[in-house]
């Protein structure tokens, strides 16, 4: 597969896929790219905005309210963890505890504190608590990416 990339100013991000014939790999590639373009409707005091999955660092459930965290912004989300989980299949987002979903694309390290709890250090320096139960799910995402 040949990968070409070029900067075109003033245009939205565009992906062109050229293929000799439509097959399962092409189909899977198109679906994966399509999923990267998914977004959630986030709410702020000013109104609603579309928050792209690729901009989300993590999603947290705080007292039964969901919040989408991007690099330096927070949005409210009207929905449940189940709604989000049903849409994040085959994306880099994965549940890491009962109340948190993390984007593995922004993960910079997982560490264990003295044989105690697990922490995920994000690229923006935020630290999230990881439940050991979900560690195999995070590993599965990195395994898939390595294929």
């Amino acid at each position: 597969m040949r990968i070409e990339k070029r900067q075109v100013e003033g245009q939205p991000l565009t992906v062109i896929i050229e293929y000799p014939e439509w097959n399962e790999s092409v189909d899977s590639l198109v679906r994966k790219i399509g999923r990267m373009d998914l977004s959630f409707v986030g709410k702020t005091d000013e109104g609603s905005v579309n928050v792209s999955i690729s901009d989300i660092y993590y999603i947290e459930n705080v007292e039964r309210k969901l919040f989408l965290y991007t690099k330096d912004e927070v949005f409210r989300f009207d929905g449940t963890m189940a709604d989000i989980e049903s849409r994040i299949y085959e994306t880099g987002l994965v549940r890491i505890s009962r109340t948190c979903i993390m984007n593995t694309g922004y993960l910079s390290q997982i560490r264990q504190i003295r044989n105690s709890h697990l922490e995920a250090v994000m690229e923006n320096g935020e630290i999230l608590i990881v439940s050991r139960k979900y560690l195999p799910d995070i590993k599965r995402i990195f395994k898939k990416e390595g294929l």
Binding site: L107, I110, S116, K139
Partner: protein
């Protein structure tokens, strides 16, 4: 290897259940069959308790195994008294049975967690290069 071991255990459980079902139909319930079915029942209850502990608590690895030890021992003792495994004189044996299983599980879990963390961090490093 892990997958082979897991599949072996699942297959053994299915074979035991199939063989015993046929035996129950042909010869009725015997003490041995009753014991194995009780063990299956106990495993199910412990698995459910374990699930809820994993889902609703976020303790350290040692803390989580201590809580599981207490919970599993209570379940085994209650279940054991109900089905007549234990008497007042030997109920303490539940602490030993559960302890042995949990010590093994703890070491396997600690080792696996360490390996998973190393794998994930190595992949992140590769991605950054």
């Amino acid at each position: 290897m892990k997958r082979i071991l897991r599949d072996t255990c699942i297959l053994s459980a299915l074979m035991i259940l199939c063989v015993f079902t046929v035996s129950i139909i042909w010869t009725g319930m015997t003490d041995e069959i009753k014991l194995v079915l009780q063990l299956f029942g106990l495993s199910f209850i412990i698995a459910v308790v374990n699930f809820f502990l994993d889902e609703y608590t976020n303790l350290s690895i040692i803390g989580s195994y201590l809580v599981k030890y207490v919970a599993a021992t209570c379940v085994v003792m209650l279940f054991g008294f109900m089905v007549g495994w234990f008497y007042r004189s030997n109920f303490w044996m539940a602490f030993i049975y559960v302890g042995i299983v949990l010590v093994l599980a703890f070491f396997i879990d600690a080792f696996k967690t360490k390996k998973d963390i190393e794998f994930i961090n190595a992949r992140i490093k590769d991605k950054m290069l």
